[in-house]
């Protein structure tokens, strides 16, 4: 009997919250098709995370606890994923469309016969067992719907687009995966892991995000946005031009090629509102746009709009927040 297989990294027993979101989509397909949801946790020390899967109703947890499966070692991750597929006989394989899944997902799909939907933002499963996957195309200007025809297929899911499902604890089992992997034989190898220092809250978890665009004009303007963000206990992000110009690190980029965020409040400053940018913020509850051009497309998607030069309006905004809300 084919299964729905969720594959997640679990280095040192840590499973990211976004990986749990995959279980939401998996459960929907599983219920529509009457198929069991199973999980594969891959990484050195992954075994410790199995109980977390049981908590969400996943009884069978395959574990590849191997010293070569370290952060960023995607060749090892790929080989372990193949082994998980051999063991779990999946009809559908779900991975996050993050830096791991976007590399491993397509390679895995190729090996399994080519069925794949990438960058999925929603899974729909009908009473009749029909399963469809939605994803943005044409830079977010359109949404494509793909229908599942035959197993197996790989689906990569955009982080922060699905809900972590309700807990329903079961007593589960751990099934170790036997890997014959020669660390010396791996085709790629990580020489260095460079993580940026984050002061304050991480962009993808922040309840408030201040995003700056080309209109900010240079790295200095981002200092001002940083001040505003700190005051609101939020984080600063950017559109693509500031990242491409090196005003901010590439990891600050929000949008199609960058991060997907779901803050309560997103303040877009000097950003015109291209669909590729909006693709990353459509989950925000309230979007405020500050732009000097009243015709900017951002005002078609923002809830609140301020037509102004940001240099003139941000300083009093900081002042008023201090006065009215406090720090």
């Amino acid at each position: 009997m084919a299964t729905i297989l969720v594959i997640a990294p679990a280095y040192e027993g840590h499973v990211g919250r976004t990986s749990l979101e995959l279980l939401g989509g998996a459960r929907r397909i599983g219920e529509a098709r009457g198929m069991e949801v199973v999980a594969a946790l891959l990484g050195k020390g992954a075994g410790a995370a199995a109980s977390q899967m049981w908590q969400y109703g996943v009884k069978r947890v395959y574990v590849a606890d191997h010293p070569s499966i370290l952060l960023g070692e995607l060749e090892a991750f790929y080989l372990a994923s193949l082994e998980a597929c051999r063991a779990a006989n999946p009809g559908v394989v779900l991975l996050l469309a993050d830096s791991v899944g976007r590399e491993v997902g397509p390679r895995l799909a190729h090996r399994l016969g080519g069925g794949i939907v990438t960058e999925c933002i929603d899974v729909q499963a009908g009473q009749d067992g029909e399963v469809t996957f939605l994803r943005p195309v044409y830079g977010g200007k359109a949404i494509a719907t793909y229908r599942l025809v035959n197993f197996p297929v790989v689906v990569t899911v955009k982080p922060h687009t699905m809900e972590v499902p309700a807990e329903m604890p079961v007593s589960g089992e751990t099934i170790p995966l036997e890997l014959s992997m020669d660390p010396e034989g791996l085709k790629t190898r990580v020489l260095e892991v460079v993580s940026e220092e984050v002061t304050g809250v991480k962009l993808e978890d922040a309840p408030v995000v201040v995003g700056g665009g080309r209109g900010i004009g240079g790295p200095e303007g981002f200092q001002l946005l940083g001040e505003l963000a700190r005051l609101l206990k939020g984080a600063v992000g950017a559109s693509r031009p500031p990242a491409d110009a090196g005003w901010v690190p590439p990891t600050w980029q929000i949008g199609q090629t960058g991060k997907t965020i779901r803050p309560d409040l997103y303040i877009a400053v000097g950003i015109s509102g291209a669909t590729q940018h909006i693709a990353g913020v459509s989950g925000a509850k309230v979007v405020v746009a500050i732009n000097k051009d009243p015709e900017a497309p951002i005002f078609k998607v923002a809830h609140l709009g301020v037509v102004a030069d940001y240099r003139k309006v941000i300083p009093p905004l900081i002042q008023k927040i201090k006065e009215i809300v406090g720090t």
Binding site: S99, I116, D244, T251, L265, H303
Partner: protein, 266 residues
Amino acid sequence: MEIVVCLKQIVDPEIPASEFRLDPVTKRQIRGSHALVISTYDENALEVALQLKEKQGGKVTAVTIGEEQATEALRKALAMGADSAVLISDPPLLEADDLGKARVLARAIRKLTTPDLILCGCESADWVSRIVGPFLAEELGLPCVTFGTRIEPRDGKIVVRRIVEDGYHLVEAALPAVVTIASDETNTPRLPKVRDIMAAVKKPITLLRMADLGIEPGSLKEMEGRIVLQDVAIPVREARCEFIEGDTPEEQAERLVLRLKELKVI
């Protein structure tokens, strides 16, 4: 270093949403009067290739699957500094899925050269699948690194700066390898000068048909056995913007803060 860059010609991806039209039958974008361009990150990939060539010597070949008009994209690649270009064009190829495209590219690359490095964009700017690069690596049985922005040759291998969520990884790969390229400040595509554009006219463009590659049209759409594209639709956006007015920026700022407080988001 022998470098192949796979590039795709697409309709300008930066047109406003209000000008975007879909053909209800083919489910593809209607071009209208919009410009055709090289897909965004494919130009970054070309830039990375050209910088490597400048440092190391070697040759850069641009390859595309497209219609006759894709010659223009190849001319631009030649003007930017590629040494030669290959157009793979045949009507059945218009229907090819990502697996079909990867197979065709793999065959063409094998037929024409023995590359050390094959570069793709990290995502095509129209379809944004992020599939063709890794598929191509699998077709050729080569190491694959995605979302690289910089490539350093080192001891007969390469070290790729791969962008990840919280920073980057330096990944070593044996050659030949397939790398997909994302943008950063070091790979902003160069603008060809008039002299380069003139010189490009004399550079060779090879045309390949499916028969040259020994590929049967039937093998171009195998993914449909698993997954079928059912529909493409333009989403409706219903947000109505409430403008915060005021005679001075101070007034606007104050009203905005009060409104945000009312909405309980600050």
